[in-house]
């Protein structure tokens, strides 16, 4: 037992030496996660501002002017031009100069005052469905607010139902707030899976893996000797992303660091298990690299990072269940934004343990049996 432990320590020491010896390779482990986090933080945002729109104001009344002022005062919309007729506004949308066309119908003011439904049409460019949808709903909300305020000012009774919305955990509904905590898992997964997948393949290519197999190491020892250094690197990278989230993007941390790190450790074990699994399938570094890419893309798409997993077809939903990143994103979001406690995340943690418990022993078994 102690002998085995000493041998594992020997392997870990060797692995860390190979990884960290060269200043360039040290930098390549820590700088990319920070850069990626900054790029994601600024680039991957669904929050809109200065959305170009074309205005067709057929009413030309005090009310219509007040509505336009309200739209533009929000800072979200920027008028591309005002047109008398619909036919003149359409080319703006076709040429992608405007994302929306807002048509204020004839009799807008009169209808408002008489309590008859007042016609306002918002036409969106469906070619960019995501952004248009968001812009459309912004516009809808602003127009609704305007109508309610107008009627209230003039002593008309308010509409039967008024919906008041609040976003909890992320009051401004900033994409960045939900994106960055998810990156803690996503970025470390990309880096550690690559790292582990390549490391065994490199040893196979350079013949050093044969030396390890000929030496008195058991496959389990080799596996642990590969997993622990990657884990150390992964935790360091995750901490770097966390620091960027806390001190650069200043996103308030609601939960406990213990729960977060417990979740991250389990997640890394599962991700590294996958990496080792791919590595044990690959015969050389090129194959390992390709395999890692082939797996990383679906892992990202099927994780709930970009789109909610609940909306996916049932088959894909099953796939999300064997994806360690799904659980990592849930854990980091819940801990970071909601302050979720360990107990409520237990199912996710156990799922990660289960993934690691399958991939790791399989990888260890493959070390010796992939001897063609």
């Amino acid at each position: 037992m102690i002998v085995s432990l000493l041998r594992i320590l020997t392997l870990i020491r060797k692995e860390l030496l190979v990884l960290l010896k060269d200043p360039k390779s040290r930098a390549s482990l820590i700088l990319p996660p920070i850069l990626q986090c900054l790029i994601f933080g600024y680039a991957a945002t669904y929050d809109l501002n200065s959305v170009p729109y074309a205005l067709v104001d057929q009413d030309r009344s005090a009310a219509s002017i007040a509505l336009v002022a309200k739209l533009e005062g929000s800072g979200i919309f920027r008028r591309e031009g005002t047109f008398a007729r619909m036919t003149e506004a359409v080319p703006q949308l076709d040429a992608r100069r405007a994302l929306l066309i807002v048509v204020i119908g004839n009799g807008f003011e009169r209808n408002l005052e008489t309590g008859v439904p007042a016609p306002v049409q918002v036409i969106a460019d469906g070619r960019n469905s995501n952004t248009s949808g968001i812009a459309q709903s912004y516009a809808g909300a602003i127009i609704g607010d305007f109508a309610a305020a107008w009627r209230a000012e003039r002593g008309f009774p308010a509409a039967g139902v008024t919906v008041s919305t609040r976003a909890w955990f992320n009051p401004q509904l900033e994409t960045r707030w939900s994106m960055i905590p998810s990156l803690i898992g996503t970025i470390t997964m990309m880096m550690t899976m690559m790292l582990t997948a390549m490391s065994v393949a490199r040893e196979r290519e350079e013949g050093t893996f044969d030396q390890l197999l000929v030496a008195p190491f058991t496959p389990t020892e080799i596996m642990i000797g590969k997993a622990v250094p990657s884990m150390i690197v992964g935790i360091t990278q995750a901490s770097a992303v966390l620091l960027v989230a806390l001190f650069w993007f200043k996103i308030p941390f609601a939960g406990s660091f213990f729960t977060l790190y417990a979740g991250l450790a389990l997640f890394l074990a599962a991700a590294i298990g996958f990496g080792l699994f791919l590595s044990s399938l690959a015969g050389n570094m090129q194959q390992a690299m390709i395999l890692a890419f082939v797996f990383l893309m679906p892992f990202m798409l099927l994780s709930g990072l970009m789109s909610p997993t609940e909306n996916m077809p049932a088959v894909l939903q099953y796939l999300t269940m064997i994806n360690p990143l799904t659980y990592a994103i849930r854990i980091t979001r819940v801990v970071y934004l909601e302050g979720g406690r360990f107990a409520e995340l237990l199912p996710d943690m156990l799922a990660l343990v289960a993934i690691a418990a399958v991939t790791m022993p399989f990888a260890a078994w493959m070390f010796r049996h992939r001897l063609n």
Binding site: R7, R13, K14, L212, P216
Partner: protein, 586 residues
Amino acid sequence: MEDRPLSLVARDLRKSFRRDAKETVEALGGISLTVRKGTLTALVGPDGAGKTTLLRLASGLILPDSGSLTVVGLDVAEKPQAVQDRIGYMPQRFGLYEDLSVQENLDLYADLNGVSPAERRTVYPRLFEMTQLGPFKDRPAGKLSGGMKQKLGLACTLVRAPELLLLDEPTVGVDPLSRRELWEIVFKLIREDGLSVVVATSYLDEAERCEHAVLMHAGEILAEGPPAEITAKADGCCFLVKGPEGVPARSLQARLFALPGVVDAVPEAGRVRIVRRPDRLEEPLTLEGLQLETEPTGARFEDAFMMLFDSVAGERDHTSPAPLAASPENAADGTVVEVRDLVRKFGDFTAVDHVTFSVRRGEVYGLLGPNGAGKSTTFRMLCGLLPATAGTLRVAGNDLLKAGAKARERLGYVAQKFSLYGQLTVGENLEFFASAYGLRGNRKKERIATLTAAFELERFRDLPSGQLPGGFRQRLALAAALLHEPDILFLDEATSGADPLARRQFWGRITALSEQGVTVIVTTHFMEEAEYCDRVIILDAGRNLAEGTPVEIRERAVSGKTAPSMEEAFIAIVERERAKRTEKAA
């Protein structure tokens, strides 16, 4: 011949390399050399003599620090591209694209060199005929044997019909049969095309066949001239010595090599061939108080080579090994390695076909055979790196594939290819492998210190092992395999690419180990190295062709010629068996 035009003229060439900020290494220290058109010139010398540097200068890949160099009538420093268009250079590791087929590789080099389709129609058939690669046109280069890869590399170099051919160690890792075929191609080119060839080699029998040999040492020319002239310097100094009964030739060789008056000693057909210092020929040859009988024999190029090097190499280590003892095989205490009916198939292809042999404790056992004969496959199965398809194999009573980690503690393994951690320093590598085999504390320190000293690795301790010169990498690999004092040592072509001096040192160490009872199993392409073995097995196409002591193997190959060399015996046996097989097939 003297009035033939000159293909290469070097005047006082100097070249230094910077190893790091502090240290510069002088690779060439003022070389002057001429190569006449249509001749074959061999550059021989130990590692670091400057052979490769000279060839790279001649091909215009690097520039000299000073001196002048004219190749095919052009100044290389001024017109490197014009020179490169008219010469062919084949480096040690020729850049074949492993995933491309033989034909595609050839096409690629023809494209790169701008060979027109019309020229290709005349050049290709001839190249395929010479290299006999025709039947393998569609095979990926990565799947060719070592010998075939070298032939393809040569074909790619010859695709635009160069005037001067520069070959850097073209036969390293190539078996004797392919080596002979490769040389036949080179001779044919000289004879029929009037090509000039400069070849760097560490096979001295190859140098013997050249018209002009250049002996280099530490960046300078030690001697040059026709090989016969150089060989003559050792005339009258060469003897065959027979040792006491039951003493392996390698043990006697190790002691004789350590004697002050002896320049060189190598085992040969159960006896030891020695070269004595010309000024000490009169003294009687005594070893441990015993006067030894010597029988004069003719000199070879290698004898003269060793003699010339002895005069400049400085004092060799003459501390004699332990006193001579009878070989441990006489006190046989059991079989260590046992292989019975071993079979390994890859798909339809049978790499190892019912091979049976056994090795006793303390024996040095050689696995010989052409490239692709199944030696490495057998080796990998013995080490537990590859499962056998059928048959049994036992190493110290265990099947290493199935046995636990404990069984592997007794094993040392040096792979064909350098396979230590290139990024880690020499010291870190030794440290890792010592710990891997469970050495700790003082014992670990002591073993590392002992081996670093024994293999003269102190000055490289902090150098990443990937940057070590070739010979020292080999030493480090062996040192790492010996840290834990294994009972059984597996060496897969461990001396491939090593120079003659390094090979003698290497075998000195192996001899010492076997005398301590270590069982050694080796594969090699150097047939003279088979002379160090107690017994050898010759494999071809996965089958056992012959097994026995080197003397028995020679006897089996005898056909008219009285004393074949080990290499001749090997070729004779393999060819005879191949002929039998094709007969049977027909």
